[in-house]
């Protein structure tokens, strides 16, 4: 049973890392889209 917590920790860590990275991608996308909209508005 004690070893199972390591298994759960490894799987959670994997999806946590992927989740954080995908979160940064989404944030960067929305920021760049906003910036692109600003540029187009000013033209």
């Amino acid at each position: 049973m004690n070893a199972v917590k390591f298994l759960i920790a490894a799987y959670i860590a994997t999806w946590l890392i992927h989740g954080v990275y995908i979160g940064t991608l989404v944030r960067r996308f929305s920021r760049l889209r906003r910036e692109l909209r600003d540029i187009e508005r000013q033209k």
Partner: protein, 302 residues
């Protein structure tokens, strides 16, 4: 194209869920390690992914470096063909075959890998011409670092209950993987913080040297005494066929997931460059928009 991404995402999500179910429920428990061995189904495919992505980064960086001069391009092309042909022939020499087999390697697996080098090289050059090579390089480096981080996190979590230690200091597999991670993190830092006009060339050169660590990581368990287990495919290790099936399923799921993430990161980089170009154009025509620019040239988006 807009519809394709949600469809592929749904298929990948279903595949990942099915692979997770197979890994946690269907695959048999290990006779020695019990349930904790199931970390292998995330640890190993993540390892495959970072090696694949760093290899693509290496090829894209080489292509980017040689793309400035036709003579360099021709030299690189013939070198790659030479490596593929000579490498394959050498693998089938009787003396080499004996040595490979004694090291626990399958000559056919090595020959296939060596033959794949020129194929891979020309495919990358064909699919990603010009500046897209640099976009591909930064994409694969960043996503590769994510998968490498997962390997470096899940490895110690697995090692603790099995070996009794989190980390084996001095172990070449572990150390070379950590060094590889550090090299690619510094590659991303260089791209993020350098303002030099030569940044892309510098980054490509760093990537070429960094990628030299990939074969060391891969072959370290064959050529050195290490705490890390032997490879289960193409090497001296062995695995239950039911476990191998689940492993391949997770490998396919991670490959699809990695492809989708790379696709989006690639699009992000293109969008970033589009905005940079718009800012540069505005600066030239002096419309005043450039004064509001928050992204200096040659910087990755935050």
């Amino acid at each position: 194209m807009k519809r394709l991404f949600p469809i592929l995402s749904a298929i990948t999500a279903a595949l990942l869920a099915y692979a997770l179910y197979q890994a946690l429920v269907v695959a048999p428990a290990d006779a020695q390690q019990g349930e904790v061995y199931r970390i292998i189904y995330y640890h190993v495919p993540s390892g495959w992914m970072f090696m694949l992505l760093f290899s693509i980064n290496f090829v894209a960086s080489i292509q980017y470096l040689v793309s400035t001069k036709p003579s360099r391009q021709a030299a690189a092309k013939w070198t790659v063909i030479g490596v593929g042909v000579v490498g394959t022939i050498v693998t089938f020499l009787p003396q080499v075959q004996v040595q490979l087999k004694s090291a626990g390697m399958r000559p056919s697996a090595i020959a296939t890998t060596v033959l794949a080098i020129p194929v891979f090289y020309f495919l990358v050059g064909k699919l990603f011409p010009g500046e897209n090579l640099d976009v591909l390089a930064v994409t694969t480096a960043e996503v590769g670092v994510v998968f490498c981080t997962i390997v470096l996190v899940t490895g110690p979590i697995w090692a603790r209950p099995v070996w009794g230690i989190w980390w084996a200091p001095g172990d070449i597999r572990l150390t070379s993987t950590l060094v590889l991670w550090l090299i690619y993190v510094s590659y991303l830092m260089l791209r993020r913080f350098s303002n030099s006009a030569q940044m892309q060339v510098l980054a490509a050169a760093l990537a070429v040297f960094g990628a030299l660590d990939v074969p060391l990581v891969y072959f370290s368990i064959w050529f050195f005494r290490t705490q890390h287990p032997q490879p289960i495919i193409g090497g001296g290790g062995s695995i239950d066929p039911r476990m191998l099936h689940v492993m391949m399923l997770n490998g396919a799921a991670f490959l699809c997931f990695g492809f989708l993430v790379c696709w989006q990161r690639f699009r992000l980089e293109l969008l970033h460059r589009e905005i940079e170009a718009a800012h540069a154009m505005d600066s030239l025509v002096g419309s005043g928009v450039a004064a509001k620019a928050s992204l200096p040239l040659n910087r990755s988006p935050q």
